[in-house]
């Protein structure tokens, strides 16, 4: 069941992205930025919580989970540390994704050459 739920959730979010890509003039860059904002907005209205309940891992794979985690971390930071928590806690939960992308991206760019 956990597999089917993850399949449906990630598949649906990807399909929405593809439909936007095909029917408008937006580039993939526009769409990923849009989806991060959408994730934060869904999280704000408490809708993302339902997606997490539907599939824990499936909801954390699409780029929308970035927005969700950023928003939740910022708000959590405010509750524990006050105003400064908004700034100091913002990137805490997304750190694994950002740091590993930068580190692996750098290492790969050192060891591999551009194909064209």
């Amino acid at each position: 069941m956990i597999y089917i739920n993850a399949f449906i959730l990630v598949g649906l979010i990807s399909m929405i992205g593809q439909l936007i890509l095909d029917n408008t003039k937006l580039t993939p860059g526009h769409i990923t930025s849009l989806f991060v904002c959408a994730g934060a907005i869904l999280s704000f209205f408490g809708i993302y919580e339902h997606l997490i309940n539907f599939s824990k891992i499936g909801s954390s794979i699409p780029i929308t989970s970035f927005g969700n985690l950023l928003y939740l971390a910022a708000y959590e930071g405010f509750k524990t540390k006050g105003i400064i928590g908004l700034f100091s806690n913002m990137l805490v939960t997304t750190s694994a994704g950002i740091s590993s992308s930068v580190i692996f991206g750098f290492l790969v760019s050192i060891f591999f050459k551009s194909k064209d």
Binding site: D22, F44, S109
Partner: protein, 144 residues
Amino acid sequence: MNKADYKKMIKKYTPKEDVLKNALMAFVSGGVVGVISTIIYVIFLRFEFDVTSATSYTLVILILLSSLLTGIGCFDKLVEKFKCGIIIPITGFAHSITSSAIDSKKDGMITGIGASTFKLAGSVLLYGIVSAFILAIIKVVFYG
């Protein structure tokens, strides 16, 4: 032949991008990425990691895979086939960082890799952080 006729003819012979087929492809390939990550996640849970670390490990492994695929030049071919199914998951974010780092390698370490790594991924981070900040402020002001 006048302009309207010409446009009609162009329209007739331009290959139509099959929107429905693309959408279905994105659904299936996105779903497969979801299933693969669930398999990795379940393996980590088996080794008694807690839910949060298992999720983080899964993300890190997906990012490592897509960076390597970008490095050997496979990722662009996969995108052509699977469309948004691998752009929308975190693999697309890792790909955008790795590909801009590789493409700018010839310009040197600082002005090339250093300056261009976030060329594409920067917009995701910028708008993510700004929107999260604004929404958190709204939440704090109106709901406490």
